[in-house]
Every structure is written in C-alpha cells, then in structure tokens.
Amino acid sequence: MAQIFHPSTNTFSKVSIFGAVFLVGGLLWGLAVVNRSGYATQAGVAREQPVPFSHRHHSGELGLDCRYCHTSVEDSSSANIPPTQTCINCHAQIWADSPTLEPVRASYRSGESIQWVKVHDLPDFVYFDHSIHINKGIGCASCHGRVDEMNLVRQVSTLQMEWCVDCHRNPAAHVRPKEEVFNMSWFTQDQEALGARLVDEYHIESRDDCSVCHR
C-alpha cells in the first residue's frame, strides 16, 4: 500500500495545531480592537451640519459660555440644542447678509427648526442626565473633549458602557471643582488628591448598579 500522505504533512500538521492557538487568539484580539475603534463607535468622525457652525469660533475664539446656547444643562437631563432665535440674537446684526447663514434666516422666517445632526447619541435604553453630572463637578470637556478647538464637533469618547462605568466606578479620577465645570482648558497636576477631596466634599457616590442608567 502506497503512502497516502507526503512526509511533509507531519510538519504541516504540527504547525497548524500550534498555529491555531495563535490564530484564534489573534482573531479575538482583533475583534476586541475593532469593537473599540472609531470604525465601530464613530468616535473622531466630524459630522457635517446643515449650517457649518464652528464651536471653535464661538466658544474658543469669541469666548461664549457653553450655557449661552445649552441653557438647560444645569437643571435638565438634556443640555438643550438652542432654537434659531438664539443664533439671531447676534446674527440679526453680525454677518446678517452672509449667504452661509441663509438657512438660519430661513428657519427664523418660517419658524421651522434647523435639523442639526446629533453627534453624541446614546442608546434609547440609557437614561443619561446632564444636570447631575454638571452639579457634581464633571466638566463638559471630560466627556465632550475640547469642543472649543473643533470646527465641526466630533465625538471624542467611545460612548461605550465600559467608558461610562470606568468613571462611575472611580469618579475621583475625573471630578473637578464646580466652578471649573465650564472651563474647557482646566487642568490640574494633582487630580488624585483633589479628586479624593472633592468626592468627599460633593458627596459623590460611586454608583454602578444597573438601574442607575437602565430603568
């Protein structure tokens, strides 16, 4: 009876058994990476808007306070997308004839809202509340990044549950003095000591049970 398999099959089979471990391990690792990448989470993707509104210009260069537009961020779950009237407060006189702003004026004339594109869109089964975060000393920039440096806003965080829960389990790593919440460029060298002190002072509980966010 002739040999069925060439002798090289021995090497091949040994390598494939050994290699399978690395192949499976590598695939799983790759999946974990892709899952957390901007490809899956849309982090880092700047969104086109109906009007090319620049946060960098308004917040960074002109120095408008976040709350000038996002009026309800301190008392409501939603930060509030400003109505067209807020734009017109200034743009009735500044750039009043600019063709770029024609959609804003059209919206003001007709009373139809501008359809802004939502950048930070949490799943519907998550009940997120801006006010509690603001009032316990979590800065806007902690989640939204340096919006004052972005022309078109993009998501900087993954918005994955892992990311939420990281902070909920250890708020001290991110909490800041309440008066610095709206300061986009605030930074401290000693977050550890400050965080521990503020968590105590603001009575921040590390809450990571399901019903905090899923009701």
């Binding site: 009876m1 069925i4 398999f5 099959t9 021995n10 089979s13 799983l28 974990a32 899952n35 957390r36 993954t158 994955q160 549950m161 892992e162 990311w163 939420c164 829960v165 990281d166």
Partner: protein, 477 residues
Amino acid sequence: MADKKPTKGSKQKGAPVSAGAGSRSLSSHLPPVVEPGYTMATVADKISEVVLTQNTPRGWYIGLAFSFALTMLLLVSITWLLVRGVGIWGINVPVAWAFAIINFVWWIGIGHAGTLISAILLLLRQDWRTSINRFAEAMTLFAVACAGLYPLLHMGRPWLAYWLFPYPNTMGMWPQFRSPLVWDVFAVTTYLLVSLMFWYIGLIPDLATLRDRSPSRTGRIVYGLLAMGWRGSARHWHRYEMTYLLLAGLSTPLVVSVHTIVSFDFAVAQVPGWHATVFPPYFVAGAVYAGFAMVVILAIPLRRFYGLQDFVTMRHLDHMARIMLATGLFVAYGYMIETFMAWYSGSVYESSLMNNRFTGPYAILYWSLLLFNVLIPQGLWFARVRSSTTALFMIAISVSIGMWLERFIIVVVSLHRDFLPSSWGMYYPTFWDWSMYLGSIGLFFSLLFLFLRFLPMISIFEMRTLLPESEVKEDLG
C-alpha cells in the same frame, strides 16, 4: 512501514491496554463479555464492516430519513422562534421556565451515562464497559448538543450568547459569578469539551484501523487525516494510555459536578419545591438513571440490527439494569425526602406545594411520575425481567418518560403556584413547545445514525484486549 500491517501489528503493541485482563477471572461465573470464537482479525472485521461496507442497510436509510425529517421540524421551530420570539412557547409569568429548561435538564442528564461508563468504569477496571463505551460517549456528545440548544434559545436573543462568557467586553461588565446560571455555562462547556476529547482520543487507534482497511482512496484520506498519523508504535501506545487515563481522571468529577450545578439552578432559588439540600445527589442519581435507560434503549435495537449480540451480551444489559435499579432507588429516596421535608419543615409554602403536587391541576403527572419512575422499574429486581430484552426496553422507555415528567414537576409545578396566590397561573405547552422537543429528538437520532455509519460504534482495539489471545502476550512479555 508500520502502518502496512495495521490490524495485527498495531495490536501487539496494544496489549498494555489495561481495561480487561485482570478482572475477567474474578467474574468468571458471569456470562462472558465477548462470546467465544473470535480472533483479533474477526473482531476488527465484524465492527469495521458496518462502516466500510458499500451496501448501506435499508433500515439505516429509513431511520435517518425519519430522524432527519424531525430535525427539519426543529429548524422550522427555531426559525419561527427567531422571527417571533419566545412568546410562541406557552411560557409567561409565573411559569417563565418550562419546556426549554425541562428538556435541557433531561438531555444533560441523559449524557451522564456516557461519561460514567467511559471514565468511572474505566478507572474501576470494569471490562464490560468496553463494548458500550464508544456509542455511549457518542450519545453523551449528541445529548449535550441537544441540551445546549435550549438555554441558548430560551434567552430570546441567542446571537448574544457570547455575553455569557467572561471576556473583556465593551460594557465593562463580567457575568454575575454568584449566579448558578453562570456556573452552568462553565459546567456544560467543560463537559462538552472533555467528552469530545475523550471520545475522539479513544477513536484514534480505530480511525487508523479504518484508514488501513478502507477500500476507497477518499476513505483512506479522510480516516487518515482523522487518525492524525497514528502508527501504533510503542511510543504512540504509551502516550495514548497516559492521555486516556488522565482524561478519565478529568471526566470523573464531571459526572458529579455537571448535574450538581444544574441542580443549583433550582436549589439556590427560594421557590418551594426547588430550595432543597437533597437536590445535588438526587439530580446526579437521576441523570445516571436516565442515561443508562437511554443506553439500554439504544443498545437493544442496535445489537439486534447489526447482529452484535456477541459483543453487547446479556451480561452488559444485566449490569446496566442493575445500575438503573440502584440509581432508581436513589431517585425514589429523593421523592420520599422531598415529601418528608415538606411536612417536617413546618413551612406552609412547602406543604402547600406538596399538596399541589398530589392533588393540584398537574396531579396526574405526579402520579404518572411515580408509576413510570418508581413502580415499573421495580421489575428490575427479577432476573427474568433483566434477561428479557423486550421487558428491559419497555422499562427503559418508562424511565425516560418518568425522568422527563420529574423535570416537568420540578420546573412547572413549583413555579405555577408560589408564595402569592394572586400571582398563580397555569402553563400549557403550545405546538412549538412540542415541535422543539420532538425536533431535538430527531437531531439526536440523526447524529447517532451518521455516527453508526461512519465511525466504529464499538472500540475495535479495546475489544481485542478482551480476547483470550491478548492474555497470552502477557506471558510472553
């Protein structure tokens, strides 16, 4: 060179297989494990012929066609389940666990006989296990496959089943390790993997025999790949023996642990009828009971159909009947203690549960359970019953039904009336409940028929060690 004289050549090295020689003299008063008149070559001929023949028996086609039709019913049911959700079953609050969990426990239990036969009886050097271990192990695998379907489908979103495993996920969460449902995942996965390895490693020398005997080139290549280069050298046999023994050691605790953990799914909860300390041993005994019943159900038609009465002898059936009798008594003791504790605890909930079992809307099922699982199997005390294949077959069927009813009583009857009368309800199975159940039986038998056709259902090389020929070699050595 070595693989040119496979059947005899490989066997001479195979002599160290220990399962047989020693205990045979002790049990000489019993009927033999192999009928006399066989040689090394004729054993291999007889068993491998079933696989290597060109003429597949017509009965095999009929059996497979029937089981395959039922498997299609399973596929239809699963598809409809995925389209519509678990609402197509009769489950609702308060009975949110019903057929899916009953069938899961039933199938997992059936698998236990295979592991017990292959691991514990090997370590105890029970040579009679040799003729039944291969197909009992296959039975275990197929039963675990059927069992595994149910919890996955019961989840509602089976495509997220991987959430059950602890891995660094994007939710920053681990499974709830305090829940026995998570232990179940580990227990069943381990069970499946170890059983699969045990079965496959036991097959390797036989796959090599098939490779060497196969008349077709395709057969030689396929069996050759599966045999992983087995040549039957002394080194191969040495490593094989070591691996097999280690795996037997690894499987032994699984016989006890898997069904213990399945019982924790219930016993850790506070529902009357579940919260009992007797559950783990009672479940394990029930599993072995149901498992041996299934082995008997399979062995009796198989040995007749394939003419294997010389290998699976009346002695095997007798031993299995005795094990069924013993484990059946454990189970009966479990029923007794449950009833006793309901009274002795003084808990109004426990005693009203018992009352509900005896006289409630499902009482007929409880009395049938006692009939099928306790009363009818008492026939096994009599040697005349144990030596009648018809009677044994009927009793095994009765036990299978009884064990299914037991799980129905535990799951449904406990849930449908718990602490608050305002939340009481009834459970009635729907068409899709039944179709899933029948479908999984179809899947089980389809896999079994394919196994019978393509792999040796009895271990060829281990059977040879039971022959008088193999004993001579020890003198030579």
